[in-house]
Amino acid sequence: MCDTCGCNITDGNRHLIEEGGKHAHTDDGSVAVEVLQSLLSANDHQAAHNREHFDRHQLLAINLMSSPGSGKTRLLETTLDTIKKRYRMGVIEGDLETENDAQRIRQKGVEAVQITTGTACHLDAHLIHHALHQMNLDELDILFIENVGNLVCPASFDLGQHLNITLLSVTEGDDKPAKYPVIFRAADHVLITKSDLLAVLDDFNTEKAEQAVRHLAVEAPVTLISAKNGEGFETWLTWLDEQVQKQAERRAKGETTNPKLQTEGIHMHAHDTR
């Protein structure tokens, strides 16, 4: 037990510290309040609310993250073309500026809402919530959220999605998972995109890239994929089918699922240190 770091605070004794502060005075007489809550609790709260929306409407929400230009929109275009007869889909597009990506999606006959963040380098749960007001969730089986192209910041913000996809294009180099561990650790599926370029890029080692992902303790599938020649799409779409099925099974039991990271770790630490 310890009185300095807050690890002895439980739901049962929290009020002793928060009210009156009699267990929490510092030496100089000011009051110390133990908190032990996520710095992003407001975002997490909104994300949980978004997830409830998705679950109530029986849809599966998938967040796509990668650096700019790794082929998120291109992946979506081919995916939508291939399975739009099977599923009703919608897309939320995140970019600093322009409506370009949403227009590309709409050309596929799929509803798309563009969020332009201005200077913000990531989407957050509140931005998603605003976008949801412009969509009819009852008419969707899958909602794709294409995050702002950025291999750093999007990983820290839960949007309410069920699953994360992290893309890595072969032009970026096979050591990216080692350089950007946070975003690859969040992945439920890693897609190595633009595999058609491997023929002219002999310095990208697919095995090395996968090994770098495994070194992050990630068990998620790693799939080599090309939206240009169709390589890997069977694997990717079969996985997607399975995830839609799993979401339906979860909903039948009244359950949901969080993306891999975020609050899961925090709850676990609280238990471990108690």
Partner: protein
Amino acid sequence: MHELSICQAMLTQVEEIAQREHASQVTRILIRIGPLSGVVPELLQQAFTIARAGSVAANAELETELQSIRVRCQQCGAECDAETNRLICCECGDFRTQLISGDELLLARVELTREPEEEGTGKD
């Protein structure tokens, strides 16, 4: 540079706590950050000097406790220190480990000064 967003979210929480505690001033904020949270403590410090202006924490110091990365192997059960991009088991080398520390992003403690008339009353 998402540190400014995170800093603003932190200050919103601190403001709420200060209001609840009838505090006139926040003197110190302690946060715990793991290297796998995706937040850089130095950048958060820089963001804090901008974001705190005009808030109840305008004169507060921000202290960061950097947490170490620890994993537990799901195969052999060993617990090890690990690096941000190498989270495999140090005993058996298996990659199927669970992170037990290192991705924290926690507001741990807020130290504040009460308004004189509220001193010692605790509750209204």
